[in-house]
């Protein structure tokens, strides 16, 4: 008998008559999730995007964030970021259509990310307000190495895709065939492996800046 059959038979054999029927199984699985919704922690603000931003800028997540009202404002936001830190204008740009469509004149673009890349601009599919997380999916347009290698990682995410909790993401994608790789990122890379002291920029980016594309932002800005 192969090891596979031996292992499966060993665990199946010992379950004996304890195997529940399909209906009970389904009920049990769902009941578990009902409990979950009852004990979700509070968000930092009522408004999802505000809660998301508030979380992003906490010392624990240690990211920075800003809002723009239209995607066309992204290159200017990137330019401001570079200027404030005295960084070169040669940047890696993820080949996502939303990003490629913008006017990047004044920048030197490349889409292949070098191992010592200074800055890469990418696009996240979802944001998670509870934890200040960004969710990336891999595909032909969004290679994931761009998320791993640069020292500075600039990410655009749509306000309409900010969800309250991580389990909302699980629920939103339930039943779908998953992409090859889902990358959930919360803040900058870090390690406490030497004497427990936190050092940022372990193997991944040291700085994370999130630009939230909030098409409703402008009227709100006018009100205030």
């Amino acid at each position: 008998m192969s090891s596979r059959d031996e292992i499966i038979e060993a665990v199946r054999g010992t379950l004996g008559s304890n195997r529940a029927n399909a209906a009970t199984v389904r009920r049990d699985a769902d009941a578990l999730l009902e409990e979950l919704t009852a004990i979700r922690p509070d968000l930092l603000a009522d408004d999802l995007v505000e809660a998301f931003i508030a979380r992003l800028v906490t010392p624990k997540v240690a990211a920075t964030a800003e809002r723009i009202a239209d995607a066309s404002e992204l290159p200017a936001a990137v330019a401001r970021y570079l200027e404030a830190r005295g960084l070169p204008t040669a940047i890696a740009l993820q080949p996502a259509a939303v990003l490629q469509a913008l006017d990047w004149s004044g920048f030197e673009l490349h889409d292949r990310v070098a191992p010592d890349e200074t800055l890469a601009v990418g696009f996240a599919r979802w944001g998670i307000a509870e934890t200040g997380s960004l969710v990336f999916h891999s595909d032909a347009e969004t290679p994931i190495l761009a998320n791993f290698l640069p020292l500075h990682h600039l990410v655009m995410v749509r306000a309409s895709t900010v969800l309250a909790y991580l389990d909302d993401y699980a629920a939103a994608t339930a039943g779908q065939r998953p992409p090859r790789n889902v990358n959930i990122i919360t803040g900058a890379s870090g390690t406490t492996d030497i004497e427990g002291s936190l050092v940022l920029g372990a193997h991944g980016p040291r700085y994370l800046h999130v630009v939230i594309l909030d098409e409703s932002a402008e009227p709100r800005a006018l009100q205030s």
């Binding site: 409990e35 991580l166 390690t191 920029g201 980016p205």
Partner: protein, 491 residues
Amino acid sequence: MSAPHATSAAASSSKRDARPIAFVSAQALRERMHDAVNDPHLRKSFRGAMDFLMAKRAAQFPDESELDSLRTLSEGIRQYSLSRLPDLLEQLEAKLTRNGVQVHWAADADEANAIMLGIARRHAAKTIVKGKSMVSEEIEFNHAMHDAGIDALESDMGEYIVQLAGEKPSHIIMPAIHKTKEQIATLFAEKVPGVSYTDNVDTLIQIGRQVLREKFEQADIGLSGVNFAVAETGTLCLVENEGNGRMCTTVPRVHMAITGIEKVVEKLEHVAPLYSILTRSATGQAISTYFNLISGPRKPGEKDGPEEVHLILLDNGRSQAYADEQLRKTLQCIRCGACMNHCPVYTRIGGLAYGTTYPGPIGKIISPHLMGLEQTHLLPTVSTLCGACGEVCPVKIPIPELLVRLRGEAQSKPHDNPVMVGQGAGYSALASFVWRTWARIYARPGNYRMFSWLASRFRALTPSRQSGWTAARTPLTPAPRRLRDMVRDRQ
């Protein structure tokens, strides 16, 4: 199957007996613990680190009742998953295969290493870069590769340090916590070409980052562990903070993942709460920096990702634990390390003294299944049974209860139908005679009266050295007057 326990135990034992995994003997275990306790340096670094982790965890759970609900839920999810284990394993295999992942099954460490060596040989691999994986430690993967002339390089900062030093991890989450920054500075200066001594932690990490960046590019294969495997979608979940794990699983052409068979859960929605309680219990983080969900190799048109993905599902004694309803709870573990951080024994002796891959309370309950009781029968006794581990365990494993059960399995008289490999390995005819005699005396008031009368009469004859008992305690001497006599006098 009429006697499933014996069947599965025998099945795995016949394969496992062939290979004794390096382990410290009973004598060595005592000596190591002694050395550790007498090392003020080590005690200080562990005390400090564990206090830090305990405080961070506590800050994550300000509300007792909320914590309890979350623990109950997590326990429920783990028990539910285990109750469907065979079905979920089959589903996981089918979905992963559909996604293009090659699934392998290994009954024991040797088989797992042979499978991975086979993959490495097929790709003529010279270097394997590793993300953190306790299972790879469990099967002594690095050794096996070394013997075959293949370099297996750790890329988690802590694991990298431990590997440079030629040591083993002392904590499942913080592998190098037993080392001071000065020791690490000296180590780097000696072992990393072109590096001079610096004890600046930031610089040390930057050195590690630079060295390892190159290795990711050069490596032929990346190896990782798995925190959760989702059956419904065929997805492998990896939790990390540094970002080395996702490099290992993305940059090299081949990705091999290895995990124990117990890690499978039904769906992603069940992973979310487990993930949340894992990071909060382990490092006191609301969420880890990175969470990667891998569901297959590179697709046509994609610019990165491995061309080949393999998953090795390892039994290595887990089906033995599974066969017994009480011992099955051992498999609920999500490897957060909280039980270690809160253990008064672990905090004092550190992780290396145990001599097993998994130290601390979780090590004491899982190692007997992985290695057999012959080598591990003393482990369940390295505990005060204070109960702290069971109280903090996010999936409510009754660790103290399991320790008592394992003591029983280890010390009972060997019999024909054992639930565990090595049952009775700690059996002593003398000890058992003493306890049986004591039970006979204690169970009958007449006997006990006579015994206590004789004992106080002849107390001068009690030896001052009572073998193991007096090694660290004062001798047991009967009182000059019995309690019953004292009471009678007062009336």
